[in-house]
């Protein structure tokens, strides 16, 4: 079972694999590109780049703070360093370094967090990046991107590397359904409408986009017409697409594999309140750590499912004025 299967989508590669391959491809022509790792390159897939270009790949050992600041120094010399680790170890362990060595000097560093959400499974809550998006969004000038499948992860990798300034990108560990064709268009800050609809809009990112598509498929059988927006960029947020969805569908569900506070749900609610108020329901992890277990079982237990999105859609439609 995988999200998107019920909607006829094929299973594709894991975002982290797409990221590693895209990085290697970019490295062939972009000689400024380099990687700084804290000894998890075989997990984040920066090792694909490192094997191709060993003279541009630095493994500083299990030392995330040093990793991030070394990247800040490389960026000050005109390099484009990609810094990848497990999302929680990158964003949490090295947050001050990201603040002072990257965000404050607007260093052109590309932060990449793997092992995001609870769907990493058996390794358990100490390894789950569930607050990374909130932390990244807290820092001025950092673009925050959460792609939803392999083709858009390749496109997002290219877009973040081309972006002038610091970025944070989430790349999930598991395989995801294919939503987009190879070579798909991807603009930072520009949501992608996957389905149009008039009754409710589901705004999702990452793994929850395919779940949103399944929810829309299920709701359509009952005559409920859903719009689905892939809000792959949490910051800068596509306020226009959100306001349009609010005006045209009058009800919003936000779905993300993240804690309740400070990420997509919070950003969408804030945007709606400021620009185009509408009732909102959120499907997220709430305010709790998860546990070890199989990925599917975890997603079920913690309510990150198409069924949860369907229920939220029915609730929010019921709240329409």
């Amino acid at each position: 079972m995988y999200y998107g299967e019920a909607s006829g989508l094929k299973l594709g590669a894991a975002p982290r694999d797409a990221f590693g391959d895209a990085l290697k491809e970019l490295g062939a022509s972009n000689k400024l590109l380099c990687t700084v790792d804290a000894d998890v390159g075989n997990s984040t897939r920066t090792e694909v780049f490192a094997k191709a270009y060993p003279d541009r790949a630095f493994n500083v050992g299990i030392a995330e703070s040093n990793m991030v600041s070394v990247a800040g120094g490389l960026a000050a010399c005109g390099k484009i360093p990609v810094v990848a680790s497990f999302a929680c170890f990158l964003m949490d362990n090295a947050f001050d370094q990201i603040r002072m060595s990257v965000a404050f000097p607007r260093a052109n560093v590309k932060l990449v967090g793997s092992h995001t959400g609870i769907s990493i499974g058996e390794d358990g809550p100490s390894q789950m990046g569930i607050e990374d998006v909130a932390l990244a969004c807290a820092l001025p000038g950092v673009a925050v991107v959460v792609p939803s499948d392999a083709p858009s992860t390749i496109a997002a990798t290219k877009a973040t590397v081309a972006h002038d300034g610091p970025t944070y990108m989430r790349v999930g560990r598991g395989k995801l359904a294919i939503l987009y064709p190879d070579g798909c268009d991807f603009q930072i800050g520009k949501a992608i409408q996957l389905r149009d609809g008039k009754d409710v809009t589901i705004i999702a990112n990452g793994l929850m986009v395919a779940a949103a598509v399944d929810a829309a498929t299920a709701l359509a059988k009952d005559g409920v017409n859903c719009r689905v927006l892939d809000m792959h960029t949490v910051k800068p947020l596509d306020h226009e697409a959100i306001a349009k969805a609010s005006r045209e569908t009058g009800a919003i569900v936000v779905a993300e594999e993240h804690l309740h506070h400070g990420a997509l749900g919070a950003a969408v609610c804030q945007s709606l309140c400021q620009h185009a108020p509408a009732p909102v329901e959120v499907v997220d992890l709430g305010d709790q750590f998860a546990e070890s277990g199989d990925p599917d079982g975890l997603l079920q237990k913690y309510g990150l499912t198409p069924e949860a999105i369907v229920a939220a859609a029915r609730r929010v439609i019921g709240r329409k004025a």
Binding site: F58, G61, A63, S69, V70, A76, Q97, M100, P105
Partner: protein, 279 residues
């Protein structure tokens, strides 16, 4: 880039110390004592022929770099750079004032010739490792100097950076520990006693020299030696006195740490008179 004689360097250091006192007293806040301990080393770097720089081309890729990891001591950096011609005295007199780019800690985005935005202690040496690695990638022969404080050495990240500089055999990197013996709340040996730095750096494979960092002759000799070592990074453990140059004035206050506070106008006058008498 200037190369002054030993006597000229001493005189230049004295001028820089006077500027430090004046700009921090004018600002009404800041860290003059932390700046004064480091003045001789910073003076030698900018005026002793060690740093290759061009004020007119502050972003020249081949320039040597100086990263002040102990960013609170930026009055010494601003003052030395004023003497080098980056800034005017009028400009640095705006230190810490609203709208001034001469902020309370260095901001590389607001000023030319500032290599790093520092102020969260412990990050400068890692940034320096990044600069040194970039030099190797680009086949450039510039040198990167990083100055830390001895209290700052309590930050674990510095030891991560020390280990990585050894791994990559960064002979184009020199770290200077301005060991002035004090940190915010007291003597460094009382707050977190890291004992001697020399054997610690040596155990990580670095070339190390321990010197009296307020003796210009020793400073020049150590910086000269550092450039001769090209197969591994160099550390200079620079034993200094916090507030060096105006110690008799600080003694009258009963506070030899004098951390993070400017001199009153009255004390500044006495300090400047004392420094003038050295000239």
């Amino acid at each position: 880039m200037a190369k002054l004689s030993l006597d000229q360097l001493k005189s230049k250091a004295n001028d820089i110390r006077k500027l430090i006192v004046r700009i921090t007293t004018a600002a009404g806040s800041g860290h003059p004592s932390s700046s004064l301990s480091a003045t001789d080393v910073v003076t030698a770097l900018y005026f002793g022929g060690f740093m290759k720089y061009d004020v007119k081309q502050p972003s020249d890729p081949s320039r040597d770099r100086f990263i002040l990891s102990k960013g609170h001591a930026c009055p010494v950096l601003y003052s030395a750079m004023e003497q080098a011609g980056y800034f005017t005295e009028e400009q640095i007199m705006s230190l810490r004032k609203l709208g001034s780019p001469w902020e309370g800690h260095p901001n590389m985005r607001k000023l030319p010739g500032i290599e790093a935005s520092t102020g969260s202690l412990g990050q400068g040496l890692s940034l320096g490792v990044g600069h040194a690695l970039a030099a190797k990638m680009d086949g450039l022969d510039y040198h990167t100097y990083v100055m830390m404080g001895d209290g700052e050495m309590g930050e674990g990240q510095i030891w991560e950076a020390i280990a990585s500089a050894d791994k990559y055999k960064l002979g184009n990197l020199t770290a200077i520990v301005d060991q002035n013996g004090f940190q915010q709340t007291g003597a460094t040996r009382d707050v977190l006693d890291l004992t001697e730095f020399q054997p610690k750096f040596e155990s990580f494979g670095w070339h190390v020299q321990t010197i009296n960092g307020n003796d210009m002759g020793e400073v020049v000799e150590a910086l000269t030696n550092a450039r001769k070592v090209t197969d591994r990074p160099t550390a200079i453990v620079s034993k200094t006195k916090k507030g060096y140059g105006i110690l008799p004035v600080l003694e009258t206050t009963g506070d030899l740490n004098y951390h993070g506070k400017p001199l009153s106008s009255d004390l500044a006058e006495k300090a400047l008179a004392l420094l003038d008498s050295n000239a």
